[in-house]
Symmetry: C3
Subunit: 368 residues, 3 copies
């Protein structure tokens, strides 16, 4: 396994986690209070809130569990950065978006928005899969959440984008932030695929499980924040149709693109290929594109009558999209550069894609 | 592995999928519109809608993943035919059941009914597991959805069966349609079980996972379309009791029926044994029977008072049940005959039960 | 594998199950009726009811599936004792808590409370994992459900604890009952860990899946019975925060406690180590403690104003907690003693932790 041992995280990781957690609890204590007053509406979103929770914790965790020797890290670190990231996102969101002077309010709504923001980090983590240690992931999560909430704040404040729409930029932001960071962690020795970087049928099935959860609950993710009930209903139906068409199209394209017409599981599973940027693109680019086309078609179907304002709205949409992409790429680039410092106990490339760098195995012979 | 390669699906599969999808989108465009007006009720069913969605996409997908070399196909093709089938079912349903003259309406309700209709196809696909290629499965899905919706239409229109009740015939229809089709795909060389046709402990656990999802969300499946809240509540409670008793009884019967009192996982998992019709029967026959008995008991417990109309209602119930079974067997028989044509690039029996006929493996040694 | 065969359950198991089930159905028939009247409220809890159902059936089932040769028993017996236990819990609950004279009412609410009560049994079963046969587990479930409901009845009747609070003692009761029973099933030959008692990466991933379901739906479990909407909302938010902090802290502590800073999956998965009591403690002790601390912090944050009644309330809380623990330990001790009788076809210690004692394998070579 090579003679260079991965650096021990014994001092770094627990210290970092515990000090962040202490800081969060203290800030929380002094600046936040549970929202009071009548809140029947807040509970109405609870089922969809749980759908998003499952998508974030279980869906993304297992979606990334396709590397045959990296299942523990994929699911475990996903939980770690989601649980830390949500707390941080609630704080940042509270400071940037809170309007009134008094204590900031905590509600089911704020946790939900934080969960959605955190998916940006989980998508970026997919682009770094197997190459970043938990210390790097945690720092990335802190920076990225702050950057994404700031990007949303700019969108909402200056471009007058609706808050719900600004949150729907999260896959784009996560993708480009992640790609920019991953550019720095690239290592020339990775140009040819190592054995550990492959999947096997079992890890692929676990990944399929996660992918299905993301797929099934995407309508909830897309609609939960929409206030108007009619629009929410339409968002659910349209998203359902968009993902159904995407899934079907993925089968056709995967079969078309292979030599002998066979389907590639990684293609379907929207596998986030490592240091191979097209992975993330396939996941949130291609289906996003297809979904967008279908959405536009449906949009035109529905609103054929009044097409007057469409042009201006599309312009704002495109502008806000470009801004989000630019902030994602820029902050990701800087973050990636900082993450290469030795300080973070970076992993030698020979230890990439291997659970054994971080996890204790009672069973020595690792055989997935 | 034999010298006869499985026929490449390169030209057939993508062409079929893309032309169907294009047709669906065009029909949709010209004939459907999003339902407008106040629809708070529509959103009320969203949590149960998601339960049904999970049951259909994840439950059935993993339920069928018990063959040790067929996990990709089981979960993947389940998603493919579900996603295509739902779109088709919305269209067929719209044309047959839509009353008014104008554009047909699309709502959460229509997608939900389409999801329930599509389970007929997924059950039938279980009876063909490992023996049909995706082209055959897609054609079967198209025919079966049309046949099932037509069967429902006859039930609702002429037997005056309630729409909700007619949809609850979906397991019966799927079972007998599937058995009739599978009769044609039977091959004498399959009389003794090949190695690939077995499960292994891991694939059995994945199958258990799917079975549990089907089991847990069956109350939602059974109740979601009932309008009256009291009746819906009762349907949930009764279904819950019925499946609890079924699960417990399955343990007892499995232990009784084996030589040494051991329990068979395939029995529990309601494994849909291939070309062995009793598999499907055990899954949707035996538990259905047990559930029916318990339901009748509960029914009598509740309604002991007014037993007058029970006889007539039971007659209609039995008649409608027989009709559905007959249509399922008949259309299934014809469909099965058509599916044996060489045109569909049928698989040689030596390639049955093997993911490698359809899926690309980066890892050559397939070891589940 | 040793020459001592595990005793056949052929006569015992089906007989026990079928007679219990018959008894349940008869009691149900004569003493219960579906609740009638307007029940829109009952349906409001249905989404959270399903969350609890998933937690109980799927979460606990897979959480315990970490032993590499015991996956079938973990998931299968969990389903068996949950399905039997819920029916029994509804009956016991009905006889002890029902106030009016007429027929007892069955509703979604009573099934929900029964599901929550049954988690005590599932937790205890975790402490016996691999050492008890299904006959023993079923008897334990019957006794434990009765003991827990009685303990709740004493709490509610004499200590005037709220019904919701008394149900939240279920993890404590289950833990101490299970530890007391497991004391009797301990065998000196178990002092060193046998090969079969270990996990492997795949079984650990399945266990992670179950653990995530328990984790994600814990807020539903904690809040579903609270009537006041504001309090329910607060319970959801506080539980969410408590488990997020627990998960993060578990990473830090696991890394701190290992020699080289590596994380132990079993630690995270809150693995219920067998005959090693600390397993159960880690699962429901440590996180419970952490959660309690955070809850207290949040509680003080929220209610800083009126601290007057806190002391008395805390006293009742502690007293009721001690009482529950004592009843759990006492009844568990007696139950454990009874379960050692030969009558129950106890397993020889050499057959512990092995699916092959109970399950038929079509594939002889068991290779997980």
């Amino acid at each position: 396994m090579g003679s260079d041992y991965p650096p021990s995280l014994r001092c770094g990781l627990p210290g970092l986690i515990l000090s962040l957690e202490t800081a969060f609890i203290l800030i929380f204590w002094f600046c936040f209070s549970n929202e009071s007053g009548s809140t029947p509406k807040d509970l109405d979103i609870y089922p969809a809130f749980q759908d998003v929770n499952v998508l974030v914790i279980l869906g993304f965790g297992f979606l990334l569990a396709f590397l045959k020797r990296y299942g523990f890290s994929s699911t475990g670190f996903n939980l770690l950065i989601a649980a830390l990231g949500v707390q941080w996102a609630v704080l940042v969101e509270g400071f940037l978006f809170s309007s009134s002077a008094g204590k900031m309010k905590i509600s089911l709504h704020s946790i939900l928005k934080a969960s959605i923001s955190v998916t940006a980090v989980l998508i970026s983590a997919g682009a770094l899969l197997g190459k970043a240690n938990p210390i790097q992931l945690i720092w990335m999560a802190m920076v990225e959440v702050a950057a994404f909430v700031t990007s949303r704040w700019i969108n909402v404040k200056f471009l007058k984008v609706e808050e719900h729409t600004s949150l729907m930029h999260v896959p784009i932001f996560g993708t480009y932030f992640g790609l920019a960071v991953s550019w720095w962690l690239y290592h020339s020795s990775l140009s040819e695929k190592v054995e550990k970087e492959k999947s096997n049928p079992i890890s692929d099935l676990f990944s399929m499980l996660g992918a299905l959860f993301v797929w099934m609950f995407w309508p909830s993710f897309n609609s939960v924040l929409i206030v108007d009930l009619m629009e929410r209903r339409n968002a659910i139906c349209n998203t359902y149709y968009a993902i159904a068409v995407s899934a079907v199209a993925a089968f056709a394209l995967s079969s078309l693109s292979s030599r002998n017409g066979k389907i590639r599981m990684t293609y379907l599973n929207s596998v986030l290929k490592i240091h191979d940027t097209c992975g993330v693109h396939y996941m949130f680019g291609l289906p996003g594109l297809l979904g967008a086309i279908v959405n536009v078609i449906l949009f035109i179907i529905i609103k054929r009558a009044n097409l007057s304002g469409l042009g201006y709205l599309a312009l704002i949409e495109v502008g806000s999209f470009m801004l989000t992409t630019a902030i994602g790429l820029g902050t990701g680039f800087i973050t990636g550069f900082i993450l290469t410092f030795k300080l973070w106990k970076t992993l030698p490339a020979s230890k990439y894609f291997d659970d054994q760098a971080y996890w204790e195995f009672p069973h020595l012979a690792y055989r997935l």
